[in-house]
């Protein structure tokens, strides 16, 4: 794959790229389908419920049925909505979400695109989704949607900054923005992974990431109990499904990114366990991060807008800057 990217574009190469794109898309759709099932089951168990168990064996086809329902639902567009933006918004939200997945390495040899500025690419592209959410909220011509969209803009801007700065520490330690190299450089033992030396960065990253995902306790843009559904209140059918899809694709992306950046990627936690294939370790760590996100959702109340902004600017940003400073001092004094 990597070599082909450097060749000149021919029909054959384009076909191969498209094919890999489709493979990734199927992978992601499969993940989203079962992430939703997993989430509903886990939260169900945490809440003394059973969770979906009717459609298909063990309810495994529940999400498929849900998506089918959304597909055949009437597609409504409010009469006074801004039609073009209204239709554009869900697509604009989804495309960057899917785009960022290209740079994520799963093992040393299994990856889609090996870009030297992988991390920068991720951060830059994921910011576009915010615009889509604001657009969707604005174009709906609904006051609740507008409030949700505006909250989303404020929230994402406040949290993008600490998110980016919190990974600067990792970049400094690794000396590269290439996600594959970052994963490779983390040691064979789990205490050599970035999450311990970069503990401040790790904590800030997790908090900011949850906020970026718009998930509990930072689910203000769609705050069910206040704004009903926030920015997607007027969306129905497949357009709504696209917003949901975007959310879960970002769960996938953030979980994979956390694994690669901080949890040693595909490395075994103990050196003598490395006979187990790397992909297994990657999937295990990835699943734990997804589980952690679901666990949060079952446990936490929602934070208030002003407190959210306060946390972002007054706590997370200084912390992440301090992390950069400490890392720099450490590198200067001990590594050089």
């Amino acid at each position: 794959m990597g070599d082909r990217l450097n060749e000149s574009l021919s029909w054959g190469n384009a076909l191969i790229f498209t094919l890999w794109g489709v493979v990734l898309l199927i992978l992601v759709l499969g993940f989203v389908t079962y992430a939703i099932y997993f989430e509903r089951k886990v939260i169900g168990w945490m809440q003394h419920r059973i969770g979906p168990n009717r459609v298909g064996p063990l309810g495994l086809l529940q999400t498929v049925a849900d998506i089918l329902k959304l597909l055949i639902k009437e597609d409504t567009i409010p009469r006074k909505a801004d039609r073009v933006l209204f239709i554009l918004a869900p697509a604009l939200a989804y495309v960057p979400a899917f785009g960022v997945l290209a740079v994520i390495p799963y093992t040393q040899n299994l990856y889609f695109a090996d870009i030297n500025v992988g991390l920068l690419y991720y951060v830059a592209l994921s910011g576009i989704t915010t615009i889509a959410i604001v657009l969707g909220g604005w174009a709906s011509n609904n006051k609740y949607a507008l409030l949700g969209g505006m909250r989303s803009a404020a929230q994402m801007i406040s949290y993008e900054v600490p998110l980016v700065i919190s990974v600067v520490g990792v970049i400094m330690v690794s000396g590269t923005m290439n996600l594959r190299s970052i994963g490779e450089q983390q040691g064979d033992w789990f205490w050599q992974w970035n999450f311990l030396p970069q503990i401040i960065g790790f904590v800030v990253f997790i908090i900011a990431a949850v906020s970026e995902l718009n998930r509990t306790p930072f689910d203000l843009p769609e705050a069910e109990s206040e704004l009903v559904a926030g920015y997607h209140v007027e969306y129905s059918g497949f357009r709504f499904a696209f917003f949901m899809l975007t959310e879960y694709v970002y769960v996938y992306a953030i979980a994979a990114l956390t694994t690669v950046l901080f949890l040693g990627g595909w490395q075994a936690p103990l050196a003598f366990l490395d006979f187990v294939p790397g992909i297994i370790w990657f999937l295990l760590k990835f699943a734990s991060v997804v589980f952690f996100l679901i666990w949060l959702r079952a446990t936490m109340p929602r934070i208030r807008v002003d407190q959210l902004m306060g946390l972002g600017w007054k706590v997370l940003l200084p912390l992440s800057l301090a992390n950069v400073f400490i890392t720099a001092v450490y590198l200067e004094l001990f590594v050089k």
Partner: protein, 366 residues
Amino acid sequence: MIRTEELLLNVGPQHPSTHGVFRIIVKLDGEVIIEATPVMGYLHRGTEKLAEDLSYTQIIPYTDRMDYVSAMTNNYVLVHAVETMMELAVPERAEYLRLVVMELQRIASHLVWWGTYLLDIGAMSPFLYAFRDRETIVNLFNELCGARLTYNYMRVGGVKWDASDAWLDKVRDFIPYMEKKLIEYDKLVSGNEIFLARIRGVGAYDAKTAIDYGLSGANLRCTGVDWDIRRAKPYSLYDRFDFDIPLGTNGDCYDRYLIRLEEIRQSLRILTQALQQFPSGGETMGKVPRVIRPPAGEVYVSIESPRGEIGCHIVSKGKQEPYRLKFRRPSFVNLQILPKLLVGETMTNLITILGGIDIVVGEVDC
């Protein structure tokens, strides 16, 4: 020149957090409320007017539907008013049964409040835990009187159904169960940093304001006013039990939260004592004339419902039907302070404050 516009936002009547068909029109400046106008009446069914054509026994099911989260206390306030008018004696067993179901109802009602309040704040799980535990109480009621929500259990002069010993044992088992669950609730929610930040200092008022607005229940006691009708003007058998009345100091949502949780504990204490003293036999209906005709005159009685002081004013002309029936509904009275509390708050706090008042729209509109 930058011009800002106020946003007129219609919250409700179909809104997940107005707890029924209740509507507030808010004027927003950004997310800050500059004016709030509550609109009520979507659930008005004219209970008081309907009652004028009904015999007293027929009115009882209507009271179930006022505060449908706490039907037992509503039952009681009506039969208690009629009994006071007619100077009827209620058998001891019936009175104990009434007290037991009323305290169970208080727990169930506070559980509903606790669950839905946390849902308003954005936490999903406590709602299901609260309903799981409330389900135990609802099942007990179902076993006792065959209904899960609208019980129609009490009668003028007694109660409709007697309880078996097995039922009483189930209530006894429920008490330690609930005590254990309350500790879990505290562990999960009461110390949560986000939750505390959301409700501490929100919607605060002082004792004078509370009294001026005629607030009652936890909404009054959170300011430190020691007024619980179970203690202040004992009715039923409440003077026989030893229990505390939790009081607040700050008058904010956090105090109201703590008071309601503590009231569940105190109700469990009352239940424990009531079940110890429970008479082993006896009638469940007193000697009541075949046709209930209170003497001409007026009576007002009030009791402590989970939401505050619920009162019943009957004007009788000596007929089978009341000449005029008036309920003092605590949800309605407590709600009057809402517009005052909302000014200057954000949309998020609107939900926190409204939830903290604890209204049941069936009772607001009656």
